[in-house]
């Protein structure tokens, strides 16, 4: 009994850490979906580029970690905006299928450029700060895990303030609810969409950097699985809902570690997709999504 509770607590921490990175990725999907009703399938690659950028800034440029993290987020934000400009904006009036194909094409393209530039081998990403392990209430954790949680928390709080309190945030919500009427308010819709990509991409970059260090590995195909997981988390939370993406990420992270504890680690990825299928079947609007699709 004692041991069971302890194991459970330990898994909870792991789930929280993994889940918070899923949440950061899910936010990008959900925000972009909110303003454009499209799934940015290149989002996992954006996360991967974020990880590489962070790694290079830390190991090659020797920047202090906080600066490297912020700079990686900024550079990756530019990539996101560029992808929107090249792959999505010209298709604003095209069918959903064309946009989907463009998204998948972009994902393959970015991954291959990364392979070409950085090679296929896995690079180590040692944290540029000392990592202490400590025990709280009998549960083991370390500085890196706590930092990951902290970074995710700060980003989510910042995003919440941005979306609810700032003019840009209001513009993003207005564009999501009714793009045409948003334009009639004097909102520059294209610029607002670009900002949405920038913010979503920078959050993915933060996740990429943290996960790169947690696994001590950065590699061009590292975005594929987390990209899918982030997508599942966004759908689980209710695609288009920002609080939903946060909750969805954490719930998915928990479900995975508990599933692994109960079954075996081979089931980790299957769990996410089982959740996706169940949500789509029984509650397509997700945990916090709006029941009825709003008329636009």
């Amino acid at each position: 009994m004692e041991r069971g509770a302890h194991l459970f607590g330990q898994q909870l921490i792991n789930g929280l850490v993994t889940g918070s990175t899923y949440a950061l990725i899910a936010l990008g999907y959900t925000m972009v979906y909110g303003v454009l009703q499209l799934i940015n399938f290149a989002h996992g690659e954006i996360y991967m580029v974020g990880a590489f950028t962070g790694l290079l800034l830390v190991t090659q440029a020797n920047l202090p970690f906080p600066l490297a993290l912020l700079l990686a987020m900024a550079i990756t934000a530019l990539l996101g905006v560029t992808i929107e400009f090249i792959a999505y904006r010209p298709l604003r009036r095209s069918s959903r299928l064309s946009v989907l194909i463009s998204a998948i094409g972009m994902s393959i393209f970015v991954q291959n450029v990364a392979l070409w530039v950085w090679g296929p081998q896995t690079r180590r990403f040692l944290p540029p700060f000392p990592v202490h392990t400590f025990t709280v209430a009998g549960l083991r954790t370390n500085t890196l895990e706590l930092l990951t949680l902290f970074v995710a928390l700060v980003m989510m709080l910042g995003l919440h303030l941005l979306v609810t309190r700032t003019k840009l945030g209001k513009a993003m919500r207005a564009v999501a609810q009714d793009r045409e009427t948003a334009a009639l308010m004097g909102i520059n819709v294209n610029r607002t969409i670009a900002f949405t990509f920038a913010i979503g991409s920078s959050l993915a970059a933060a996740a990429g950097v943290m996960v790169g260090m947690l696994f001590n590995a950065v590699v061009p195909n590292m975005g594929v699985m987390p990209g899918l997981k982030g997508f599942v988390a966004a759908v689980l939370g209710g695609i288009g809902s920002i609080p939903g993406a946060m909750v969805g990420g954490l719930v998915l992270g928990m479900a995975e570690v508990l599933g692994v504890a109960l079954l075996s680690s081979q089931w980790r990825d299957a769990i996410a997709f089982a959740i996706l299928i169940l949500v789509l079947l029984y509650r397509p609007s997700g945990l916090l999504g709006r029941r009825t699709q709003e008329k636009v």
Partner: protein
Amino acid sequence: MKRSSPRTWGRAHVLAVENLVTHYGPVEALKGITLHVNKGEIVTLIGANGAGKSTTLRTISGLVRPTRGTITYEGHDLTALPPDRIVALGIAHVPEGRRVFPHMSVMENLELGAYTRTDKRAIQEDLDRVFTLFPRLAERRWQLAGTMSGGEQQMLAIGRALMARPRLLLLDEPSMGLAPIIVESIFSVIQDINRQGTTILLVEQNANLALSVAHKGYVLETGRVVLSDTAERLRENEAVRRAYLGA
């Protein structure tokens, strides 16, 4: 048949639309519309479903690009400007169907109306003005717009447009789907707004109502202006009475 109304003779046009042609894909919705609005007027566009009334307003506010023709407002050529620039020049558009932001509060909707402005004090004045014109909105300021009644949403849509402090207000069917008593109160506010100095271009299916508040009117049929005159004369016009006033 066209003539300038004596009461506005010689005053400068605030808005001049010349030979406007607008397409939706292959569909020619406007086939060469010319109309003029003078400062301080209420001008109405009337016509049956699909005549092109909304399209005219949507072309003026930049939501759709015209294929040919020009739109001039206070000396600015609007023809190639995007909607956000046009709002900033002082034109606010209350779209057909109200289109309030359903998941935002009344306050947030009104704040978005003032999106292009930075003059905090003047914005607060306009907020007070909107709440004076529509006391109902003040009572409901924290309610989500999507949960309000049709009449309240129309008040909000008009209030939101006023928050841009427009010099020209485009109104698309403010009476649509509302009970007569609400329509009456909304139209009386529209007249107040006009008396306070805002020029208004009003689209209506309810021609009777529109011609009772307007100074001047244009009758649209399948993308063309077929008649234009003072509101008074249009009300007495036999063809208009038969087609639009149910006489």
